[in-house]
Symmetry: C2
């Protein structure tokens, strides 16, 4: 089976297998043996490509963050108009696309959230993402709100997005994407209602 250029393939395989394993049995029971089996490879290969289990978990979180960033960036790139509202809706959409709003990605997110509070490497990654969301929101609100109110609105919308997302991850029936997005839209509109927005 050995061919050249297997590295990117195996890395992707193992990252996907990690998410699937976390979805299946949770981070605590996602052993290297299970992940490897899920990917259809041997356990030793994980250390070979990622240096160890920690490296694989970090790479998995990086992948998720990258996918999220891409989802947001893509929607902001092809925007109908340049209004703050359009940008903010694109950010909301990106966060609720999340490459895939699959159960496995949401569960993995939640597992990493909990884990990142004590693993320094993961915490760094998580902070970057958190700040990016807040800063993107704040930047757009700032275009039609005073600084203090822009911050307030950004904090509120960020909390709303994460909250909808969290409850979707925890609910057995899963996340109703359209309903969640609508609630975020509604909140956004209220925040902009009393603002003087440029066209």
């Amino acid at each position: 089976m050995p061919k050249v250029g297997m590295e990117p393939i195996r890395r992707r395989q193992l990252i996907n297998a990690t998410m699937q394993a976390i979805d299946d049995v949770g981070l605590a029971d996602a052993t290297v043996a299970r992940i490897a089996r899920q990917a259809g490879v041997s356990a030793g290969i994980i250390s070979h490509y990622f240096g160890g289990k920690d490296g694989l978990l970090e790479a998995t979180m990086r992948q998720i963050l990258y996918d999220l960033g891409t989802a947001v960036a893509t929607r902001r790139a092809r925007l109908a108009d340049n209004t703050p509202a359009a940008h903010l809706r694109a950010i909301i959409d990106g966060n609720f696309d999340r490459s895939q709003v699959s159960q496995s990605v949401m569960k993995t997110w939640l597992a990493f959230w909990a884990s990142s509070m004590h693993k320094h490497d993961l915490q760094r990654l998580q902070r970057v993402n958190d700040r990016r969301l807040y800063s993107n929101l704040c930047c757009q609100f700032r275009r039609c709100l005073p600084r203090a109110e822009a911050r307030r609105a950004a904090r509120g919308l960020a909390a709303m997005i994460d909250g909808l997302w969290l409850r979707g991850a925890l609910a057995p029936e899963g996340l109703d994407v359209d309903r969640a997005r609508q609630l975020a839209y509604d909140y956004l509109e209220e925040q902009l209602a009393h603002a003087e927005c440029p066209a």
Copy 2:
């Protein structure tokens, strides 16, 4: 040291030690040895009083849920007036009191959230709490909103509360309780703005 009636004392000690250990090193590294050391007792005592580690973790989550329920119930019991708004504010207050908004409780909550997705016993507990919050909110909104809109408002406010709470748990600077509560209040007011509320 052995005296009669140690059971409730030891149980409380070990539950508190569990939260402290989770705060210190996370659920994954909160071993029975560590928890027992934190409580100043031997490791064996955990199996004696809780049947095992799982029993201790479930008891810890139960305690947190109980404290939350108490915090909400207490505030709803001594209400200035009987308006939906007053009840809803009491629910918000209770959720942001949470007996203590300490880092250890928030971290423990988050750890249990992640864990509850794969441990059946914890999932049951978590669902009960989730439904209780939603149902309490919905019930009050229902007093001045049509059913569909009451549900929408309840979902939104629940998401806002959990989201603020989640972001507070993840933020290194911790949760700014007053600011979070104010954002929840603001959202509540917007939801009630277009409603016909009884006095």
